[in-house]
């Protein structure tokens, strides 16, 4: 390695490490604050390491948010799975059963991705009330499923578009109909797409705050993010509890990414791979 290359390399690494540190700083602060006692927390002592280390913050936060943590699981798991399935069927149709105007309809689907939730809250609540779903966890699941359709349909459409049409033709000649092709041919080879979509939906729905806040007014039914926000008192905030709660709430998505992140990257590229 020449001297110049060493310098270039060094500069690149320096910049990368600096960015990473900058990015991780809030998480670091969350962690050390969560491990402090109430007395150790303070804006002037922000960077001080916790001494003695205390898990009180975590145990207090867990008591307060664990029920809502369960709500979040009950919302996120079915909503992610249902929206993935609906998306896969939509994607299948848009990729393999093009009909007159299907591209226009698909474009309209995509518009759904860019709708700001805030803009549609009032009609959303009215619709849910009319359906009798307002105030229930089922209502939250329903909303997430509906809002999940554009992105899941897009992801599955891209994946299925990469699957040769001849495979569908062969299945037609072999005797498959519309659902037969989906069930016997596309579904079994759509595993990578499902992985990506499920991770995506899991993260998005888990991290939602607004829908959970609006659709269920009863705090006992609220998802974990709403409960974490409620940890903050009106006048004082126990920051070590607040930070612990936030870390607890973030844990599932972090685990999902750490466990399946490699798969996620592979899945994102799966459309370009050949079977």
């Amino acid at each position: 390695m020449t001297l110049q290359r060493v310098w270039t390399r060094g500069a690149i690494y320096f910049v990368l490490v600096a960015f990473a540190a900058w990015y991780l700083m809030p998480i670091y602060l969350m962690l050390i604050t969560g491990l402090k006692t109430y007395e150790q927390v303070g804006i002037t002592k922000m960077w001080a390491l916790p001494y003695p280390v205390s898990l009180d913050g975590f145990s207090q936060a867990w008591v307060k948010v664990s029920a809502n943590f369960g709500n979040s699981i009950m919302i996120t798991v079915p909503a992610a799975i249902i929206s993935a399935f609906i998306g896969s069927i939509n994607g299948y149709i848009f990729a393999k059963w093009k009909f007159r105007g299907s591209n226009t309809i698909f474009m309209l689907f995509l518009v759904g991705m860019f709708l700001p939730y805030q803009g549609i809250l009032i009609p959303l609540v009215q619709t849910l009330m009319a359906l009798g779903l307002y105030g229930s966890i089922v209502g939250v699941i329903f909303v997430h499923c509906v809002f999940g359709i554009p992105i899941t349909a897009l992801m599955f459409r891209s994946y299925f578009a990469g699957i040769p049409n001849e495979l569908v033709d062969a299945a037609k000649i072999d005797g498959c109909g519309f659902f037969g092709i989906y069930r016997h041919i596309l579904l079994p080879i759509a595993f990578p797409a499902f992985a990506v979509v499920l991770i995506w939906q899991f993260t998005t729905i888990w991290n939602d705050y607004l829908i959970g806040l609006i659709v269920v007014s009863n705090p006992r039914l609220a998802p974990v993010n709403v409960a974490v926000k409620n940890l903050a008192g009106t006048y004082t905030t126990q920051w070590q509890v607040q930070m612990s709660g936030a870390l607890i709430a973030a844990l599932p998505t972090i685990i999902v990414y750490l466990a399946l992140g490699k798969f996620f990257m592979r899945g994102l590229l799966a459309g370009s791979l050949k079977g």
């Binding site: 001849e166 495979l167 062969a170 037609k172 000649i173 072999d174 005797g175 016997h184 079994p188 079977g275």
Partner: protein, 368 residues
């Protein structure tokens, strides 16, 4: 076992007419090959028959049954695709058994049929493998096997050899011919390769721009092309064409191409006489042009002097790229011929195999 009938079939994609008034009768047990350049409508014609595209106008029969509105699975056909279209998540066995399973065929019968087909194709040892563990040639066999087990009335092939390397292609060509003899089923085969068409077909249907140009046996197509396109498409290298005039001199007919003038054999005189004085397209195949000293006896020769532009030694023959004036043409001559670029050489046209075409309609003026 079934015949296939296209009756004035049209297929339009928007403003594009992919298949234009296709009428053709394919007999039972026949091996019909659709051939033509890409975009000529041959694959669309096959897909119409398979039911993978909807017919815009006209009727298609399999046997005596009108199949216009019959879904693909009920047409009693099987198809081999260019990409083989094997189901990637299924083993070779399951790929072949899939169609039978959907038809609720008893398990024992499926097993028997799959093993029998695997035996015929020599893939018995591959039944547990997944498609991605197979070579191109093996995949191709599985695709054929998947069609065989179905025991269809008509086999459809869509360029099944184009993904194989040259050597394997020649070998598989012969195997498909053998399979046709063995199964005694109607085969309909699409290819852009005229050699495949010539070697395998009982009849060839030449298509261009959605229009059927000519249907005939390979030999007849070669000997009696109906128009300039077919004449140029069948045979390799292509037939040479010259703009010429048909003139009479001293009671004899001549083709006058400007830079050379060759006599029409007496036995063809009466056929071409009505076109005397007309502009014509004169066609002669490279294999009907001989180096003067090695010309076969018994031909009706016409001597032409030309300049050698390029020589290509093929081993068993030489391709000479010749110039007559500015017009280039090709001759396939005896490998003993000694010549080199820049030299002037005498070649003999075998006028027994000459062709004339009308320059406007491009249709043949030969006796049909």
């Amino acid at each position: 076992m079934a015949s296939v009938t296209y009756d004035h079939v049209y297929k339009r994609f928007g403003d594009v007419v992919a298949v234009n008034d296709l009428t053709i009768q394919v007999d039972d047990k026949e091996f019909l090959v659709f051939v033509g350049p890409s975009g000529c409508g041959k694959t669309t014609s096959l897909r119409l028959l398979a039911g993978l595209e909807e017919i815009t106008e006209g009727r298609i029969f399999i046997g005596n049954r009108l199949v216009n509105d019959v879904p693909p699975k009920d047409r009693d056909i099987a198809m081999v695709f260019q990409s083989y279209a094997l189901y990637p998540h299924m083993s070779v066995y399951d790929n072949m058994a899939f169609g039978l399973k959907l038809r609720k065929t008893p398990k024992a019968e499926i097993d028997r049929k799959v093993k029998e087909a695997a035996e015929i194709l020599g893939i018995s040892q591959l039944l547990d493998r997944k498609p991605k563990q197979l070579s191109g040639g093996q995949r191709q066999r599985v695709a054929v096997g998947r069609a065989i087990v179905r025991d269809p009335a008509v086999f459809l092939f869509d360029e099944p050899l184009s993904n194989l390397d040259a050597k394997l292609r020649v070998q598989t060509r012969a195997e498909i011919s053998k399979l046709h003899q063995r199964l005694g089923t109607t085969f309909i085969y699409v290819t852009h390769d005229q050699v495949e068409a010539m070697t395998m077909a009982s009849r060839i249907a030449v298509m261009k721009d959605g229009l059927l140009q000519q249907v005939d046996s390979p030999q007849n197509l070669y000997d009696h092309p109906g128009n300039v396109f077919v004449a140029g498409f069948i045979g390799s290298p292509s037939m040479n064409f010259f703009d010429a005039t048909l003139v009479e001199q001293d009671g004899k007919l001549f083709v006058d191409a400007g830079t050379f003038k060759v006599q029409v054999p007496d036995n063809k005189r009466s056929i071409y006489l009505p076109y005397k004085g007309n502009k014509v397209i004169f066609g002669i195949r490279p294999e009907d042009i001989h180096a003067a000293e090695y010309a076969a006896p018994g031909i009706t020769p016409a001597r032409v002097t030309a300049e050698v532009d390029v020589t290509e030694l093929m081993g068993n023959e030489i391709f000479l790229y010749l110039l007559s004036g500015k017009k280039q043409f090709i001759a396939r001559v005896d490998p003993r011929t000694r010549t080199h670029a820049g030299e002037t050489i005498d070649v003999l046209f075998n006028m027994d195999n000459m062709h004339l075409f009308d320059p406007q309609s491009e249709k043949t003026l030969d006796a049909v």
